[in-house]
């Protein structure tokens, strides 16, 4: 099983999404470019405190066409969405311990971008976050990140 | 506030301060201008003081100098929103018994004015033909006089003598030099015989900055206020405050840092030099090169610098600088259903279309008594006024079909009455005026007035920081003009405190919308700070 944030892990995620018939059916036809930003918060062993990881995800016609790390923070030009959260939040979501929607409501994930688009495609969004949280596999022995 | 240090800090965002700021910024100086009020422009001010949509110029209204004002041309203020209207009939006097009115037309419409004078006196008509033609040629002399700083003076020299300039003005006209020593009233009386014409000219003289009609040595104002200025009056489209809008826009364009609601408490001295200012809220704005004050003389020297930091000479002169008793106004404002329709209009309907309408006097003596009352600290018994109804020319100044009347009473100094007494005047005087008005213009009844307002000298003092309500920020008596304004040694804009300059109406040439005090200060500052002479314009010699 691939380590979280590894290229292989992201490939798995990509395969997962691209394999979802439901998502393909519900996903908007437009291209959507987004970044995920993982902020080191001192607890996660994967992202040193003060460091940030950036990933670019491109969805197009219900398929992930691009999913890769970025060397630096996206300047926002041409970007549709930006999701920013502390590393432990992302990791707990990946482990299925935190609900991503709840994290959005509580402000643990900062969301930037056109919410109208997300709301109009609410079902597709739901599938996507479920895939991230419940379907993605990690290499954690108890299915939990290696910290309390 | 970001950037609390600038090359030059200007105190006061009236039109002189704005003038100074715009030119200095154009010269490449980092300028910050601080205005104590929430609004820019000082007395270049328009407000809806009666009812919504009625714009009243309760301070400055008549713009006589726009066509010679450097700021107006150099910064292309018309393109920034300052548009003017030049009413054909500039002034008129109406009469209670419906006698023919006396009208003054634009400067080059000498014949029309003469015709109106001729109703009462052929001799007066001829006098006007001769004098006004000469006065029209006086324009460039006027411009030079306004837009040149008085010469530098030091205490070893004899005092500057304003009489020399006024005498030479008379001789330029081919008139007797001795006229300069006379009173305005004597000058008027000498050339004009009809009581009606005299009455109008008396009122015009005091309105436009002449000191008392009866002070010897005020003869110069005969040339200036009675002959030259009537005919040059222009109004700003949209109200006087639009001129401010254009000036502010010019300043922003030039990169001036502008801070309103920033009242200066004191001027900071460092090693005896003006180094910046402290605001009432404790913030400091430092000046690397100069502090320029465009507010009142006493405010600057006595309050902001402080008497303790002044030489005896400066302290004494500043303390004894006179405000009033001339140039003290109460402004009346009325929202009207219809404009005044005068009895005198049956002889000449022009009176209803005169911009500056004098109403309430039956004779020249009435005007003299009226003027004397203010000098004796009394509110005039006769509630006469000069009024203007700008909506007759500019529909944007009142709601559709309605009219905005504004006007001036001459009142005693603010300190002559207590606050309660002024409130009493506010509560009663407009009614008195209206009762009198109705006898001159029968439609001027209470029913025609939607709402009214009276701005007292005390309001002028408190709101615009015009001490005693003196709209010129200092009397225009012979000892306070030209090289003696505000007093010898300071007239050249620099003060005894290095780095502190004056640029307000307490300087030559005094109150009114000239933009000259600020412009002249710029000329001096360009020299002292070794700046490029940005004020120079090849199309202009001053």
């Amino acid at each position: 099983m691939p380590a979280i944030y590894s290229d292989a892990w992201y490939d798995d995620m990509k395969t997962l999404i691209n394999g979802s018939a439901d998502f393909k059916k519900l996903a908007p036809k437009q291209r959507a470019v987004m970044t995920l930003e993982v902020v080191g918060d001192g607890k996660s062993p994967y992202v040193p405190s003060g460091k940030e990881l950036y990933y670019l995800v491109v969805l197009d016609g219900g398929q992930v066409t691009d999913y890769r790390p970025l060397p630096e923070r996206h300047d926002g030009k041409g970007l549709g969405f930006r999701f920013t959260a502390p590393a432990t939040v992302w990791e707990n979501i990946a482990a299925g311990l935190l609900d991503p929607i709840t994290c959005g409501l509580r402000g643990q994930i900062k969301i930037r971008g056109d919410m109208r688009f997300l709301m109009q495609n609410a079902d597709a969004v739901k599938i996507l976050v479920d895939l991230y949280g419940q379907q993605g596999q990690t290499d954690w022995p108890q299915g939990k990140p290696p910290y309390p | 506030m970001s950037g609390t240090e600038h090359d030059v800090v200007i105190i006061g965002g009236g039109h002189h301060g704005l003038t100074c700021a715009a030119y200095l910024a154009r010269a490449g100086v980092d300028v910050c201008i601080l205005e104590g009020r929430h609004e820019w422009g000082g007395a270049v001010y328009t407000a809806e003081v009666t009812a919504p949509g009625f714009c009243h110029n309760i301070h400055a209204n008549f713009m006589e100098f726009l066509h010679i004002m450097p700021f107006f041309a150099d910064f292309d203020l018309p393109s920034l929103g300052a548009r003017t209207i030049h009413p054909e009939i500039q002034a008129g006097m109406a009469f209670r018994d419906g006698r023919p009115p006396v009208l003054i037309y634009q400067s080059d419409m000498i014949e029309e004015t003469a015709k109106s004078f001729a109703v009462y006196s052929k001799r007066d008509a001829d006098a006007w033909r001769e004098l006004k033609a000469k006065a029209n040629m006086f324009e460039l002399v006027m411009a030079a006089a306004l837009y040149t700083p008085p010469a530098k003076w030091n205490q070893s020299e004899s005092l500057p003598n304003p009489m020399l300039a006024t005498q030479s003005s008379f001789s330029m006209f081919g008139l007797d030099e001795e006229m300069a020593f006379k009173t305005v009233r004597d000058c008027i009386d000498e050339y004009f015989e009809a009581d009606e014409v005299r009455a109008l000219l008396y009122r015009v003289a005091i309105e436009f900055a002449a000191p008392s009609l009866e002070w010897p040595g005020s003869g110069y104002f005969f040339l200036f206020a009675c002959l030259f200025m009537p005919g040059c009056w222009r109004m700003m489209v949209g109200g006087t405050h639009r001129l401010n809008g254009a000036m502010v826009t010019a300043c922003i364009k030039e990169g001036v840092t502008m801070r309103e609601s920033s009242r200066v408490k004191r001027i900071l001295l460092e090693g005896g030099r003006a180094a910046g200012v402290e605001l009432v809220d404790g913030k400091r704005v430092l000046a690397r090169r100069a502090v320029v004050s465009a507010v009142g003389l006493k405010d600057t020297l006595l309050d902001m610098v402080g008497a303790a930091h002044l030489s005896d000479y400066t302290r004494r002169r500043a303390t004894h600088f006179k405000e009033g008793p001339d140039q003290v106004l109460g402004s009346v404002a009325m929202a009207l259903h219809e404009p005044p329709k005068y009895k005198s209009a049956r002889w000449d309907p022009g009176i209803d279309r005169a911009w500056y309408q004098v109403v309430g006097y039956d004779s020249a003596k009435d005007v003299l008594d009226y003027c004397r009352a203010g000098h004796c600290d009394r509110v005039p018994e006769l509630p006469a006024a000069a009024v203007w109804v700008n909506s007759l020319w500019d529909a944007t100044q009142a709601p559709a079909g309605k009219h905005n009347l504004t006007g001036w009473y001459f009142f005693p100094k603010a300190s002559a009455l207590s606050e309660a007494e002024w409130e009493e005047v506010r509560a009663t005087y407009n009614d008195k005026f209206l009762r009198l008005y109705g006898e001159f213009a029968p439609n001027m009844t209470r029913e025609n007035v939607i709402a009214d307002y009276l701005h007292t000298p005390l309001d002028q003092e408190r709101g615009m920081r015009m001490r005693e309500g003196d709209f010129g920020h200092g009397a225009m008596s012979l000892d306070q003009v030209m090289g003696l304004r505000p007093f010898a040694g300071v007239a050249h804009h620099g003060t005894e405190i290095p780095g502190l300059y004056l640029a307000g109406s307490c300087m030559h040439p005094g109150g009114g919308v000239t933009a000259a005090c600020g412009y002249n200060a710029v000329k001096v500052l360009c020299q002292d700070l070794e700046l490029p002479p940005v004020w120079q314009n090849p199309r202009r010699f001053y």
């Binding site: 900062k110 709301m119 | 970001s2 018309p78 548009r83 826009t249 944007t396």
Partner: protein, 534 residues
């Protein structure tokens, strides 16, 4: 050269804060822009005048700025650098009750809870949970529901359902869309006065507590309850700053230039007529005034499609306006209720007279019938508490407001002329009754009143005295504001946009209508959205 010879890329009708903000962004995007304003002064509702006596600065309309630090315009246009200064009162609001008790809302929510706890511990606990929840999604909500074109209510509720938000939140439910604010408060709180305080906050945002369906916006409103700011030196200072932004970027603001007609050529808006003649708009005309003026007065009837005309004629305005009393005072007021809660003397916005939810129902139904309450319930604010520069040293400037009918049962709108002064005195008396005796007798120097009718004459887009420029009602919010067709800031006439308070979300100093129109214009015109980097 004349002011208008070259024309402009964009002409904005109306120099209110929305129009000026749009102009600022466009000018900073390299466009030539002119804002044409009918009144003598720019700023629209950002209007500060010395209506009582010199040096007492009265905010005639906009007084509360609740989106400072939240609204992106402040940063994008560098308004602080351009001279705006705000005070942030530590005691934001308060209620003084007839029995001498008082409630206070602080920026410090622990203190707010402590104040609530004196009336109900349960409500204090509920409040903290509500506040905690709202704080979590406030940022997202504001961006979603205010600083973006309107989202259809159905889309919102469908998304909330799809995401299972009801199960994840104590306060957000799909039922909010049919509930009133009063019902929301009744559901969650037990104490009448706490409910009245919270309903008061909604009411001064023009969210009448008993209007069904407004609860859906209540969480967003609540999120701003501790963010009310005083614009130092008067609200008009914000207009000065906007003016500087526009002019620095090469744009122009021309007050006292009323637009008399929007000129359409070949079906496209190409400029406007003014008393000075035609002014060409090379790219667009944006109207920040109300839709009735835009479509019924400024456009020739033949140019407005039938549907637009019909729907614009149906636009509804608020049935409650405001009666304002501007007060010059000899000092800051001290209240008897300070014996109960000393913080009340520092509370900026005061509720005086609303003690239960029923009071609101009573008051607004009276207002709807055109009658004046004998004992007016007030909202009172003394800005000098947090901006001493708005009055001479040691003095203070106060504002009393009463929800009031535009047209009086006796005399209609003009009927105000006969009663305004006296009613102002009644309102003042009620306020002074709450002060310690010395203050009650001597605090008032002078006052000036401003009736709904006068408001509508001064700010003619506040039709019927409606300072929100369109009623706050489910039928006139989100995708329905001002009409279904016009909700997206575009109009059926190419080149003509709407950017004022008539648009989503509504009036108030939100800048959102102007900001959202900007986004739409940027998309249509291919402007790089430098301000909107996701």
């Amino acid at each position: 050269m004349g002011m208008f010879d070259q024309g402009f890329d964009a002409i904005i009708i109306g120099a209110g804060h929305n129009g000026m903000a749009l102009a600022g962004y466009l000018a900073k995007s390299g466009w030539s822009v002119a804002v044409l304003e009918r009144r003598t002064e720019e700023g629209g509702g950002l209007c500060t005048e010395e209506v009582t006596e010199p040096n007492f600065l009265h905010n005639m309309h906009s007084n509360y700025h609740p989106l400072v630090g939240i609204c992106p315009v402040y940063d994008d246009l560098e308004l602080t650098e351009n001279g705006v200064e705000y005070g942030h009162p530590d005691v934001q609001m308060g209620s003084i009750f007839a029995d001498g008790t008082a409630l206070t809302i602080h920026t410090d929510m622990q203190k707010t809870a402590a104040s609530f706890a004196r009336f109900s511990q349960k409500d204090a606990d509920t409040w903290m949970r509500l506040w905690d929840e709202v704080s979590g999604y406030m940022d997202l909500m504001v961006r979603t529901l205010m600083y973006a074109p309107p989202i259809a209510l159905n889309d919102i509720t469908r998304a909330l359902a799809s995401w299972g938000v009801e199960d994840k939140s104590e306060f957000l439910t799909a039922r909010l869309r049919s509930m009133s604010v009063a019902e929301f408060l009744d559901k969650h709180f037990e104490n009448d006065r706490i409910k009245a305080m919270l309903a008061f906050h909604a009411a001064i945002c023009a969210y009448q507590p008993h209007v069904k369906g407004l609860a859906v916006s209540y969480p967003v409103l609540l999120g701003k309850i501790a963010n009310w700011h005083v614009c130092k030196g008067g609200s008009h200072r914000l207009a000065h700053a906007l003016m500087r932004v526009i002019v620095k970027a090469g744009g122009r603001v021309f007050p006292q230039v009323p637009v008399t007609q929007i000129v359409v050529e070949g079906g496209r808006a190409v400029g406007v007529m003014t008393p000075d003649g035609f002014v060409r708009a090379h790219k667009l005309v944006a109207s920040s005034i109300d839709v009735n003026q835009t479509f019924e007065t400024l456009l020739e009837p033949g140019l407005v499609p039938e549907r637009t005309r019909r729907e614009v004629a149906e636009v509804k305005y608020q049935d409650a306006s405001l009666f304002n009393v501007h007060v010059a005072m000899n000092g800051l007021p001290r209240y008897k209720a300070a014996a109960f809660d000393p913080a009340i003397d520092r509370a900026w916005i005061l509720n005086i007279g609303f003690e239960s939810l029923a009071d609101f129902e009573h008051e607004f139904s009276l207002v709807r019938s055109g009658r004046l309450p004998e004992r007016p319930r007030l909202n009172a604010a003394v800005n000098s508490l947090y901006d001493p520069t708005d009055a001479p040293e040691g003095k203070a400037t106060g504002l009393l407001r009463v929800f009031a009918p535009f047209a009086l049962e006796a005399g209609g709108p003009e009927g105000w002329g006969a009663v305004a002064r006296q009613y102002g005195q009644v309102a003042l008396d009620r306020w002074c009754d709450l002060m310690v005796d010395d203050d009650a007798r001597s605090i008032v120097r002078r006052f000036a009143t401003e009736s709904p009718h006068e408001i509508s004459q001064k700010m003619i887009n506040y039709r019927f005295g409606d300072w929100m420029v369109g009623r706050i009602h489910p039928k006139n919010l989100l995708e329905h504001r001002p009409t279904d067709e016009l909700a997206e800031y575009r109009t059926p006439i190419p080149g003509l946009y709407l950017c004022g308070a008539s648009q989503h979300p509504h009036g108030y100093i939100t800048f959102a209508p102007g900001y959202n129109a900007l986004g739409v214009i940027a998309e249509d015109m291919g402007i790089d959205k430098w301000w909107d980097r996701v």
